[in-house]
Symmetry: none
Subunit: 210 residues, 4 copies
């Protein structure tokens, strides 16, 4: 969605813009369906019915496409998180529950179940991907931190940050167990209840460490 990856001037016209979107959509679908391992320039081109040459007009290198793809997907999730900031609730605790519930539920979507592990793997080897991963998770945590600040105003920023990281890591860790088509998906609701309750308790009771 930033465009700074393909040659400047590219996708200057309406049809070009649209093509970029179609490219990224196709690429995302492939990643979800077949994993990053299944993503190839030729496959994207084939999916769209355009020539490899034309694809390389928009993305000269595969890495560029991947960058844009990650950026766009992560921007999408970031938007969701920003929206969570404005969740209306009686009190911060209710808000915390709402946020965790939302994110935990999202684990079940096929996109989320499939995309994030790919991102984690990517981040293990690619600094830029690691940075994008931080970008999204820091927004995610900042939403939590703000709520925690309301619940525990006296806690240090570091403590709040730890709590937020612990909560987010705990939720993310359920992806491969209760995510879409994952073996314990049937236990999703029960585990969500556990995580919600436990997270609230943890925030309430966490001692100040400074």
């Amino acid at each position: 969605m930033n465009g700074r990856r393909h040659k400047p001037g590219t996708a200057a016209y309406a049809t070009g813009q649209e093509t970029v979107v179609r490219i990224l959509d196709a690429a995302f679908d492939i990643v979800i369906d077949e994993g990053m391992a299944g993503l190839s320039m030729r496959r994207v081109a084939r999916t769209l019915g355009i020539s490899p040459g034309n694809l390389s007009y928009y993305y000269a290198a595969k890495a560029d496409l991947i960058e844009d793809l990650l950026t766009r997907v992560i921007d999408g999730y970031m938007l969701e998180f920003e929206r969570l900031r404005n969740v209306q609730a009686e009190d911060p605790e209710a808000q915390l529950k709402a946020v965790i519930t939302y994110v935990f539920n999202d684990l079940q979507s096929r996109s989320t179940t499939c995309f994030f592990p790919e991102l984690w793997v990517l981040a293990n080897r690619d600094a830029w991907a690691a940075q994008q991963m931080e970008r999204i998770y820091s927004v995610y945590r900042s939403v939590l931190e703000d709520i925690i600040a309301l619940m525990r105003p006296k806690l240090s920023a570091a403590d709040r940050s730890d709590l937020a990281l612990a909560i987010s890591a705990c939720i993310e860790g359920h992806t491969m167990f209760v995510g879409h088509d994952r073996p314990h998906r049937a236990r999703h609701a029960r585990l969500r209840a556990l995580v919600v309750t436990q997270s609230v308790m943890m925030v309430r009771s966490a001692p100040s460490t400074i």
Copy 2:
């Protein structure tokens, strides 16, 4: 510890046995260094200084090599978990803390940080890999379940199982944040403390749902 993926009769001599070990070691190193995406038969052969033909003498198909590789790695972790069962501690609570501490610390090893996300991705697409993943995590959870049973004898098996799954998922979810070379590795100890404390509290206070 079974493997048995290469044709029977192969690796009958000492040198052959050794070659198989060298193959699997090299393959594992490649996966850790470059990810599954970087694993190729030719690369393994190149690394070992053997011919592609010779490699395919031991593993006729790449899938066979991967199967043996996963089996071996997972068997290794399973052995570790079985060992955790016998951790000596004053009481179940101390034992729970010890187990969580151990596993959480292990997240920091490069192998663990790099291998498990690859396994999660694999399991998303490959039924056999998914099965192997279940194989290891079920042992992992059973260790936790046994300790939980000692702490909360009146809890139903399902409740204990949920607690174990939640704890293990929570720990695993920290891999990509505080694992080896991961951005929040510096906070590893603080988060471990949080997770340990919180897990104990959760087991202690979890209500019976049946």
Copy 3:
């Protein structure tokens, strides 16, 4: 003369058209020189001085190339047979003699001597090849059947068809004996005379079986 085995859109420019022709020519030459066993994608590419990648741009799979190759060769022979239909002769008998003479002579060409046995072998295992073989021989026989119909109007279609099949099989059977470079090539003319005379006699004298 259809082909259409390489992806549509490919070979749209003059150079591409030419390349396809060169590919099929080279493939044919290889088959004639070394047999189907000697035909490989890489060899075709090497012969033409193009890269394997470029060859597979035109023919994504070897089977596609073979299909196009067979189609083209067989189309060529079919055209010849169609031309034989219009052979001018005093009477049907003279026409029959002319046709048999032409086909029998053609056995001596290196292409024919080498190509047809390869086709027979292929047809033994590949349904599509078998179908192509039928395609050409049915045209071949239909030419004969039409002449036979003129010579023996009262014969049933089945009888005419049997005669045509017997004559064509008899001619084809000489390929490996009097064909190009075959051990009895010196006797070609004498055998041709025998086959021509005998075929005419057979058509003349064959009893109606219905």
Copy 4:
């Protein structure tokens, strides 16, 4: 069956002799099932459950195995032909009919339908194979020539030979049309009748050319 192809001394013991037979049997089955193209040393070894190394003890090179294979198969057919020489019949004509009938019927066996076209292809490229092919067909023809000599004592040897070649070629040419599983197999009996009748007539009426 001559053995002169593998190292002298090899297969000197009973078990070794037996292994050679099993090798050639397996090789023949593969050729019939998959064609010459499907014949590989490793496949033969695999079929027999022996190691490639052991196979190469009997046949150091694939070419040697093929030589022995051809020799044995052709020896088998030659034996059949020699037996045909002794067919009892009222007169030479009946004998000729009996021989043609026998050979024409044999076209329908899977082995014959599959093996001979492979031999023809081989003979197109390999001088030794061509020689073996001549070996068998010359016996075949000599049987016919002898009968023809009885029917037409005044015909020159060359004429008799031409007749024999024409008859044999005509029969062979039916292989790919009425052989096992071939498209016109249903017409086998009718065509056999045609060929038998016509061959007898041809021998009876063929003019002396010298």
